[in-house]
Amino acid sequence: MKQILFSLFLIIIFCLVPVQGFSHKVTLFAYAEGDTIIGESSFSGGRAAKHAEIIVKDATTGITFLTTVTDEQGQFSFSIPVEARQAQADLRIVLLAGEAHRNEWILKAGEYLPEGTEKQIVAKKNSLTETSISADAAHLSAAEETLIRQLVKESLAKELGPIKQMLRAQASQGPNLRDILGGVGFIFGIAGFIAYYKARKKRSSP
């Protein structure tokens, strides 16, 4: 009877769950590196979203800055639009992967504008002198300052590379066994609730 149905269902679960390669959700990940913005897109499970359309918009006004497409690896890059830099606009990067798949990624202005606004720099400098980490730091020449900034930036980029990679990998992870079994549990819970409700009705109206 019901056992047969149930065992059929169990077989389906346990045979197929370890199969990797989920999809139906497209993920998008973008970050700035110097003057370009680099992004990667994939369907959950890691398959690259090839030749998908990328639209870059101003997040607040909705004006389109540019459009591009992803390459064979699902990656894309574009140089930061001048208008966006001037307006210090947050970028809304929209991915259209055909067949009704869409996702977007917001890149805040602070993430791609090299040193923030002029005001922020002044504020930073002030705080530096105020706390006076070292008396010399305040008296660095402009050339030295740029050099240090450049060095710090380079080594940071090197250090953060793997972390960015990890984040990307995490973002594109598909559902795991725990999630799936959780969902199945929910379904049977709901069925139990309906059964209870119907059983009460049955009793009250003989």
Binding site: K25, R102, V184, I190
Partner: protein, 200 residues
């Protein structure tokens, strides 16, 4: 077969939600006490099946099984598919809450069509195989057409989307046809009373 959030226009979303609500209401009314467990098992099967993706060629496909659900459950496929899609939307961000109505309708309406067209034919054991194959095949075909229709009403061009979505789902139509065929004939052998009661 899930449409993402933010693609469809508001009228499509609203009408999809309304149709799904009506279908779910009728479905819940029609479920009788003994059928609840069958509905739950098939809901769980549907929920799990659409999470398993098999890479074929350039893309990957997954089972939908809406034909099978329709043939066995009838109107109860609406609450079943709605529940499964709701959980998928919450847990995995497949589809989304706003498009839930449309997505449910896209898969449940063909299932219902299958129920009325295919189920009466299954009584004759001679044609059972071929009809259940048509059921599994046709349910996906109809679903891809419904999906194209939903996109069309949101001004995305019907013919092109229809071609793409039908072509993309062609392998899954064949696979579902066979799976539905084998499942139905298996169930008829071991558990025929599942097809007896509550035929509509």
């Amino acid at each position: 077969m899930h449409i993402s959030e933010g693609i469809l226009s508001a009228p499509v979303l609203v009408s999809g939600a309304a149709l799904t609500a009506a279908g779910t209401f009728i479905g819940l009314k029609k479920i009788d006490y003994d059928q609840i467990m069958t509905v739950a098992i098939l809901t769980a099967t549907f929920f799990v099946a659409s999470l398993i993706h098999i890479p074929i060629g350039p893309s990957s496909i997954h089972l939908v099984l809406n034909g099978l659900l329709g043939i066995i459950l009838g109107w109860a496929c609406f609450p079943a598919i709605l529940t499964a899609l709701l959980l998928q939307a919450i847990f995995f961000q497949y589809g989304g809450i706003l498009v839930l109505g449309v997505n449910t309708f896209i898969m449940a309406a063909p299932a219902l069509v299958c129920h009325y067209l295919i189920r009466p034919q299954l009584k004759r054991s001679k044609f059972r195989g071929i009809f259940s194959f048509i059921g599994g095949f046709g349910a996906i075909l109809l679903a891809s057409l419904f999906m194209a229709l939903a996109l069309f009403f949101s001004d995305l061009g019907f013919l092109r989307t229809a071609q793409i979505s039908v072509a993309a789902n062609l392998p899954i139509m064949l696979i579902e046809g066979f799976i539905t065929m084998f499942t139905v004939s298996f169930l008829y052998r071991v558990h025929p009373d599942i097809f007896e009661g509550n035929s509509t």
